[in-house]
């Protein structure tokens, strides 16, 4: 039950990292859309 994840030490930190990753992906996709889409 309490087995830690292989990276970042705790599950809470790993979940936060995944949420931040999603935010970064959306920002990057927004920049991509702005750069190329008309």
């Amino acid at each position: 039950m309490n087995e830690p994840p292989p990276v970042l030490g705790t599950w809470k930190r790993l979940y936060t990292a995944v949420a931040l990753y999603l935010a970064v992906v959306i920002v990057l996709f927004s920049l991509f859309t702005r750069a190329f889409n008309r």
Binding site: M1, S30, F32, T33, R38
Partner: protein, 541 residues
């Protein structure tokens, strides 16, 4: 398909099935057969989850969707990482801790037998209806592209899938999914590289993006909100999160993938891998479609990608005039694209695109149809322009996508039939080998059922829409019951049962009387179940 393509396709399928059977050779108990003895590593589960979700029609039509409508479909997946976090945090420990075979078995531990039975039956109806369509969808596309008889494709795909699923159970399903996902990724990357490679020598990758963007094909993020438009960032985040919560948290075809994990940590990692990998994968599939659009800006596409509709249109008197307008539009668009690459916008590109769209619409009208050849764009490109061997690889990827989805569905349908219905209500105290045998027979039954009902997909119009809408009719209320189970500990079985019935009625009413996008049915149904369950009077002590 040339001999080399057939060889690549046959070798890929043979290797995948042999590998799955070899990995599942030590299956001697019901737990082995249905849950792989709970010994699966995270990477096998992770790719199995991805492969189950990526059906053949998704693979074929997503590229076509980017060609026709742009990349905004990627937003559909924005809610998925959030759902994966919630499922990892709350659902995985609950399922693992209770030692269940199915998600619905957990509902009896938490509520009562009638709630478990109701949700199990709803799952069997919903998945039972979808499995035939999942089998039929690629068959109909392959019939148009290659002229293969739909019945034969359906039977061959169905028999191969049932063979390894019935023989090896979930171990065979997971390890074949693992290989199938690798083949899908290889096929996808090859298709993207080939599409870029086939562009005219003076069109760079950045130039291709400029042309695709000018046609509105790179709209990966749309920030304006519209209830009726499923593809914007807000619908993707919220509606997509609820859909992913329902699919990965309550649908046994997905839950069974991560119940096979050797620990909570392994199951969580498999889901979080998906949270990270799914969006880039969809982005690459859509980008392939956008690059194919640019390819067809410089290389003349067929007036209609659906060969049979094109043949029907060609028989009409008005076809020559429509075709001429299409040719002029293509030349105008090509010249306009060259202008764009040279840094000047003459307006020709947009005018040419408009003329092409109008000509396509008019050509479809000649046959009395609306333009709906999204599913045929990618395979037309692949079979017309890609070299021998590569076509075989991409066909192997499409077969892999179909078989991985169908095997997981048959496997989960058999598991729910045996564990939640047969063992619970019909044969309670039989020895383990009896349930193992029953599991194989139910797998065989659902496989035959899938092949037999595949043709029902014929009258459903857009198949991917049909499958998604069908799922959304049931997912909201199922999700609602699980939300109540996990978050509201004081709510009892009768309240959850009543909430489920009301939630289901609310979704049917929303589908019948409103034009709200089906993504929102999951939210509406879930909230209705929770509201009724909380408002239901508690039994006095």
């Amino acid at each position: 398909m040339r001999p080399l393509d057939w060889a690549v396709l046959a070798a890929s399928l043979a290797f995948i099935i042999a590998y799955g059977l070899w990995k599942s050779r030590r299956t001697s108990t019901t737990s082995d057969y249905l849950l792989a003895g709970r010994q699966m590593p995270w990477y096998a589960m992770a790719l199995s989850i991805m492969a189950t979700q990526a059906s053949a029609i998704t693979f074929i039509s997503t590229t076509g969707q980017a060609y026709m409508d742009g990349m905004r479909f990627v937003q559909f997946y924005f809610g998925l990482p959030l759902a994966m976090i919630l499922i990892s945090a709350f659902v995985v420990p609950a399922f693992h801790g209770s030692g269940v075979y199915t998600a619905y078995e957990y509902l009896e531990q938490r509520f009562d037998a009638k709630t478990r039975a109701l949700v199990s039956v709803i799952f069997l109806i919903q998945r039972g209806l979808a499995v035939g369509v999942a089998l039929y969808a690629p068959a109909i596309v392959l019939a148009v592209i290659f002229g293969w008889p739909e019945e034969w494709t359906t039977v061959i795909m169905g028999v191969l899938t049932v063979f390894y699923t019935a023989a090896g159970g979930v171990k065979a399903v997971t390890w074949t999914d693992f290989q199938q996902m690798l083949i899908m990724m290889a096929g996808l990357c090859t298709a993207l590289i080939m599409a870029v490679w086939m562009l005219p020598s003076d069109v760079s990758f950045t130039g291709a993006l400029t042309v695709a963007g000018a046609a509105g094909r790179l709209n990966a993020v749309v920030t304006s909100f519209d209830w009726n438009d499923r593809y914007n960032v807000w619908n993707g985040l919220l509606g997509g999160m609820f859909l992913a919560l329902a699919y990965f948290g309550c649908d046994q075809s997905q839950v069974q993938r991560y119940l096979t994990g050797r620990s909570i940590a392994q199951s969580r990692l498999s889901l979080l891998f998906n949270a990270v990998a799914k969006i880039p994968m969809q982005f690459l599939i859509l980008l392939t479609g956008a690059v194919v659009f640019v390819f067809y800006t410089f290389e003349k596409p067929p007036l209609l990608f659906h060969a049979r509709e094109l043949e029907a249109a060609q028989k009409h008197a008005g076809y020559a005039q429509v075709s001429e307008r299409f040719d002029r539009g293509f030349e105008l668009r090509r010249t306009g694209a060259r202008d764009l690459l040279a840094g000047k916008d003459s307006g020709g590109f947009t005018r040419g695109q408009r003329a092409i769209d109008e000509a396509r619409r008019d050509a479809a009208r000649l046959t009395g149809e609306t333009v709906n050849d999204t599913n045929y764009v990618f395979l037309t490109f692949v079979t017309t322009y890609l070299p021998a061997g590569v076509v075989g690889l991409i066909m192997a990827a499409i077969f892999a996508a179909a078989m991985s989805t169908i095997s997981a569905e048959i496997n989960s349908l058999a598991t729910v039939s045996v564990i939640d219905i047969y063992r619970r209500f019909l044969a309670r105290d039989a020895p383990d080998r009896h349930y193992l045998s029953a599991s194989r027979w139910f797998t065989l039954f659902w496989g035959i059922y899938a092949v037999a009902t595949a043709r029902l997909g014929r009258g459903l119009g857009s198949l991917i829409e049909a499958v998604n809408q069908l799922g959304s009719l049931f997912y909201g209320s199922m999700l609602g019951v699980f939300v109540v189970a996990f978050l509201f500990k004081r709510v009892g079985g009768t309240a959850a049962f009543a909430g489920m019935l009301v939630g289901q009625a609310v979704i049917f009413a929303a589908a019948k009387f409103t034009s709200i996008s089906f993504l929102w049915f999951n939210v509406i149904g879930c909230l209705a179940v929770v509201a009724v369950a909380l408002a239901w009077p508690r039994p006095s002590r």
